[in-house]
Amino acid sequence: MSTLVLSEIIHEKQTFIACIVIVVYLLMLLALGFVGYLKSKGGEEDYYLAGRDQGWFISSLTIMATFFSSFALLGAPGMVYREGIVFALVSLNVPIAGLSIYLLGGRIWRLGRHRGYVTPADMICDYYGSKVILRLLVAMTGFLFAIPYVMMQIKAGGELSAVLFRDYEHAFEIGCIVLAAIIAVYIMVGGMRSVAWTDAIQCILLGAGIVLGGVAMVVSFGGPAQFSQAISSLPESSLTVPGNTGFWQLPMLFSICVLMPLGGIIQPAQWIRFYSARNLEVLRRGSVLFTVLLTALFLFGITFVGLGGQVLYPLLTAVDGSVMPAAEVGSFDQILVIVINDNLPLVLGETIGWTLASLVVVAIMAAAMSTADSNLHSLAAVATRDIYDRFIRPQASENERVWIGRFVIMAATIFSLFLVLAGRQEGSSLAGLMQMIVALALFAVAFVVQILPLTIDILYIRKGTSWGASVGLLAGLLTAFCFTSLFPPCVDALGWPILHQIQNLVAQCKTAMPMHAMAWGLVPNIALFVLVSLVTPRVPAQRREAFAKLVNLKEEL
């Protein structure tokens, strides 16, 4: 039998095993969606918050799964593969998120429990007494976060499909469509219960996938000592800050490591999970599990995969000096899948190796789906409670609002899918943003981080005003946008002279201090929040005292 025919047979067998594993997993998700629907009690609080009765195990897993996303299994290894060891330091953003689960989430839970909140805007607008402006701004922030994050997950599905079914011309597109469809169906049917249960399973798969990837990498080198020796022979730029491309300069590293986890924790999907917890012990335990377990997965799994990938598939340097993945890797974000597919069968034998490789693929899908479903679900809550209920049909029944939520899920999925597919086209203005999953994640977080000042004000300080919060948030969102990669295409499209001047100013700021857009947005945000709060009417003393009392309320044992 010729080598070519044999390799075709091997590839077909591998694809067959992958298909079986993936189909079984997707059917299981749909089944959970249906079970969630059967167990639902109806009404908004049940659909969006699972009746505020989630236990610590499910809560912890769903919080972790929502935070993790395809960033963990595709984006992060891809970033390690591209940049080197600096990403081990980036991993230390995770404990900050873990601590915030209790320090921010605990207080959000108290307020949500006692005042019946469902969305972030419910709490923010109730405290500041803002009926329109702040609610619209916070809802828009949720939208600006959720859509890129959902795009990121759909893209991950496409990337996976492109590797697994590389012989098929439209594998990427089909992968995107199938992932998007399955997610939309089980959320629309089952609501928060299905989202949380599927998240829990996905978190376990995700963790297993990372561990498997890390172990496979070390074993493929012959053990920890040999792995360490191989890593130490990497180029200097791979073993130091700012990394191979120079992206992770100290201000960028620090600003992203501090702000990204905070943005990840105050995103609407996590906020809703805090409201959903049964009691504070859920969040206390979640905080510990998140900090210890998740960071370990990054440090001892993801980092190994990316670094080992640099040894096995050495990076290339383009003519313009930029860093490129090895030819057989294709795209940085595919490094984990390539490593697993190529090495597990060698280490464990073909059938077991491919089956486990397929499980890792499923874990990646799980990571993507667990975040996409959470963000779509929270987007439905935001659109329904903050827009439809307040401004379009206040007299709508609960049942009607739940159905509107389902419609929003479908519409947002289709919209995100469209943007992902459009971004793949030649010359698309989204192409730069879509190049790496990490870029999409940071883009999304740049917006949601802008609600951090008013969140901390409500939970801890209580000196800001409604006008201060609104002006600060608006300035933060606009500034953050100016520092993202989507701003230059907008400048070119509109051609206004003032936009060119702003673009020049942004370039000068980036040169002077290479921080991320999320940090730049906070500069005018906080400044205007404080200044405008000094000269505008304060939140009534009675309300401030009521909130102060609630955030410090003790639980009865």
């Binding site: 081990a88 230390l92 601590l99 073993l239 130091t240 501090v258």
Partner: protein, 78 residues
């Protein structure tokens, strides 16, 4: 644990955590930013693992001795 002791411990733990953030991803990185090995692993990696252990210890201690007592009417630690 008495309230004053708990508050003092909380401040110590949170300050340690903030220090860990500055040392691990802030200016502290400059102390170790070289391509050398420490105990057989790249220096930067060993630095990251050390501060991860510090931050994990902070969160675990906070859970055991600060949070539960602060949240409940009857301190389970006493």
């Amino acid at each position: 644990m008495k309230t004053d002791s708990r508050k003092r411990l909380a401040w110590i733990l949170y300050s340690t955590f903030v220090l860990a953030v500055f040392m691990s991803t802030g200016p502290g990185v400059l102390l170790v930013n070289r391509p050398t090995l420490f105990l057989g692993v790249p220096m930067i990696y060993a630095w990251a693992v050390f501060w991860y252990l510090v931050q994990s210890a902070v969160v675990i201690l906070a859970y055991l001795f600060v949070w539960r007592g602060a949240d409940t009417s009857r301190d389970p630690a006493t």
